[in-house]
């Protein structure tokens, strides 16, 4: 066993153990630095693991937890997909924590800051488990920890609005969790396994013999609905705008950048590793995922058009982009998954940057979130203006930025499908146009010289948020330029995930 085989375990346990050990610290800067250090270590180990896997003859490995071997015990699994996703998510968490630090210090009460950072660390840990786990029930347990940690950091602002948003989020999320647990009970009832590989063998046998048809359709449907609710696909999105709109800056960035995607990764692993592409194709759930994705893409953008509140507009844009990801999954081909994976990365890096930039705009404007009050704000805070520009252009899908290759590959996946899902290409184009319709006028207002608002010079953005924005801009351009190796790596990773 080589050194990098232990990395997934360390990546999970380090934030979990440190979340308890940071309790004695009270100083905000110390707490934030320790949390950021942990996230940086997680990201570095993930990329090390990624590089090792890329150069090693094995494509993936499993890591046994506890003393019971495979069909009974608990396992982690690490392959290229797991490594690249955990690395990207830890990086986004790092920059989000860094970029919103000034607002966190202001919004979270002095006596409660250590609790806030405990939750940030728990969130990091549970996110990594969702990515690396090979056991369905472990996935459920950490889904709950993920939800509780996300709710806790959301309510950390302790205003009436955030607490109401948290309750909404909890009530919706709980429904999802319960459906997930019920589905696990059914799946365990028919297969007798909780680990993904043994369950897949049994399911393949059932599919061949035509046994247990209804329970299998039921379980995959329940798993999908649970993830739809938790990652806010359109008919289940009602909790998202409040949660992302009222939270403090770094929490908004974390919630939309990584929290939503952790569940999507888990669903991808369930579809590919438990049911398998062929069986899930016969079970008939994939068209539902595809059509809901299309609905979410258009409706999310249409609702975003009507928003006056800058943070709510970005939040509704998240609904649209989650739709892109689910549309890619709905193709049910390796290339479709790879394109969806690329969009997960592109959206994580763009959306966290948009929220950090919006947070700085709101501070410059003295706390107003209304777009009319923010006219000309990008001239005052130029760096945040450039970051917002890059983020918006990336999400619209302009070449050179992260969103272009992902949209291009989603369209390619649609055409490659064979039957030629032209509706996907048409909706992709319409949705891109709608994206442009709300981002471009907003950008115009932010950069406008005419009837610009007067902004007081009270607020000086701190250096760390500037560094975070610059790094995120670089990451966006990197994702937008080096897409050829990245997509082939994602394709290779997904083809070995099964």
């Amino acid at each position: 066993m080589q050194l990098y085989h232990h990395f997934p375990f360390i990546i999970i346990m380090l934030p979990m153990v440190m979340s308890v050990l940071i309790l004695p610290f009270k100083n905000e800067i110390t707490l934030r630095s320790i949390s950021m250090l942990i996230q940086a270590i997680c990201a570095a180990l993930s990329f090390w693991l990624f590089a090792s896997l890329l150069n090693s003859p094995v494509e993936y490995f499993t890591y046994q937890l506890g003393s019971f071997p495979a069909p009974w015990g608990n396992e982690l699994r690490a392959g290229l997909i797991e490594a690249i996703m955990s690395g990207a998510f830890a990086t986004v968490l790092f920059f989000s924590t860094m970029g919103g630090g000034q607002d966190t210090a202001r919004d979270v009460k002095p006596g409660k800051r250590h609790y806030f950072y405990i939750m940030i660390n728990l969130l990091t840990s549970s996110l990594m488990v969702l990515i690396y786990t090979n056991d369905i029930f472990t996935g459920y347990v950490f889904m709950e920890i993920h939800m509780l940690a996300a709710c806790a950091i959301l309510m950390a602002k302790e205003s009436g609005e955030t607490i109401k948003a948290t309750i909404k989020y909890m009530c919706m999320s709980i429904v999802g969790s319960m459906l997930f647990l019920l589905s696990i009970a059914f799946l365990y009832g028919i297969t007798g396994h909780l680990l993904m590989e043994p369950a897949k063998i049994v399911i393949a046998r059932f599919a061949e013999a035509g046994l247990y048809w209804i329970p299998m359709v039921l379980t995959i449907t329940l798993f999908s609905i649970a993830v739809f609710i938790k990652s806010s696909l359109l008919p289940f999105h009602t909790w998202l705008p409040d949660a992302h709109g009222y939270a403090t800056t770094s929490v908004s960035a974390i919630l939309s950048g990584v929290v939503l995607k952790g569940y999507v990764i888990l669903l991808l692993k369930l579809i590919i590793r438990v049911y398998g592409i062929d069986v899930s194709d016969i079970l008939g759930i994939m068209p539902a995922i595809f059509w809901l994705g299309l609905l979410s893409m258009t409706m999310g953008s249409l609702i975003a058009l009507t928003q006056k509140d800058i943070k709510r507009m970005i939040a509704y844009s998240s609904v649209a982009h989650i739709g892109y990801i689910f549309m890619g999954i709905g193709f049910n081909t390796i290339f479709g998954f790879a394109a969806a994976g690329y969009h997960i990365l592109a959206h994580a890096f763009s959306k966290s940057m948009l929220f950090i930039a919006a947070g700085r705009f709101i501070n410059t404007a003295g706390g107003s979130k209304n777009i009319p009050d923010l006219v000309g704000v990008a001239r005052k805070d130029k760096l945040a203006g450039v970051a917002f520009l890059v983020g918006a252009l990336s999400l619209i899908g302009i070449p050179l930025f992260a969103g272009f290759p992902s949209k291009f590959y989603l369209a390619t996946a649609a055409v490659r499908e064979g039957q030629g899902i032209w509706i996907a290409v048409i909706v992709l184009a319409v949705s891109t146009l709608l994206n442009a319709l709300y981002y471009i006028p907003t950008l115009q207002k932010f950069f406008s010289r005419d009837n610009a608002q007067e902004f007081s010079a009270d607020y000086v953005p701190d250096k760390s948020s500037s560094i975070a924005l610059v790094c995120l801009i670089i990451a966006n351009i990197f994702l937008g330029v080096s897409y050829i190796p990245l997509i082939s790596i994602l394709e290779r990773g997904f083809s070995f995930l099964g």
Binding site: F137, G160, K164, M170, C171, V175, M178, L182, Y188
Partner: protein, 126 residues
């Protein structure tokens, strides 16, 4: 159909309870009732799992009198899942109750409809 119901009456009861819990969670306006609904849902799944793991005529999966033969015990894994599930249910309930305290401090009511009305009135004043 009726025969299937009779042999699986515990699972059927569990699903009916799940429905009751879901309806309570979604349609009740009072937050405490929502929490009760969530607990009914969670407990119904525990009932389902326990019923799945039970094998008639066998004992609880704790080694007694030094007997280690598998034939004497029921399937321990669903019981372990239920135990973990109880811990999760307790933490979610505790968190929700804490949120209820906070929201009662701010709005003076636990009725979500009234809270929404109060918020809208506040916004129209701005």
């Amino acid at each position: 159909m009726l025969e299937a119901l009779r042999s699986n009456y515990i699972e059927a009861t569990a699903l009916i309870l799940f429905g009751i819990g879901l309806a309570t969670l979604l349609w009740e306006k009072n937050l405490i009732k929502k929490i009760i609904g969530f607990n009914i849902m969670e407990t119904s799944i525990f009932l389902f799992l326990t019923a799945k793991g039970y094998i008639a005529g066998r004992g609880a999966p704790i080694i007694t009198d030094g007997i280690t033969d598998v034939e004497y015990y029921i399937n321990p894994l669903p019981s372990a899942i239920v135990l973990t599930g109880i811990v999760i249910a307790v933490s979610i309930t505790a968190f929700m109750l804490a949120l209820c305290l906070k929201i009662y401090d701010i709005y003076g009511t636990l009725d979500m409809d009234k809270i929404t009305v109060m918020d809208m009135a506040e916004r129209s004043e701005d």
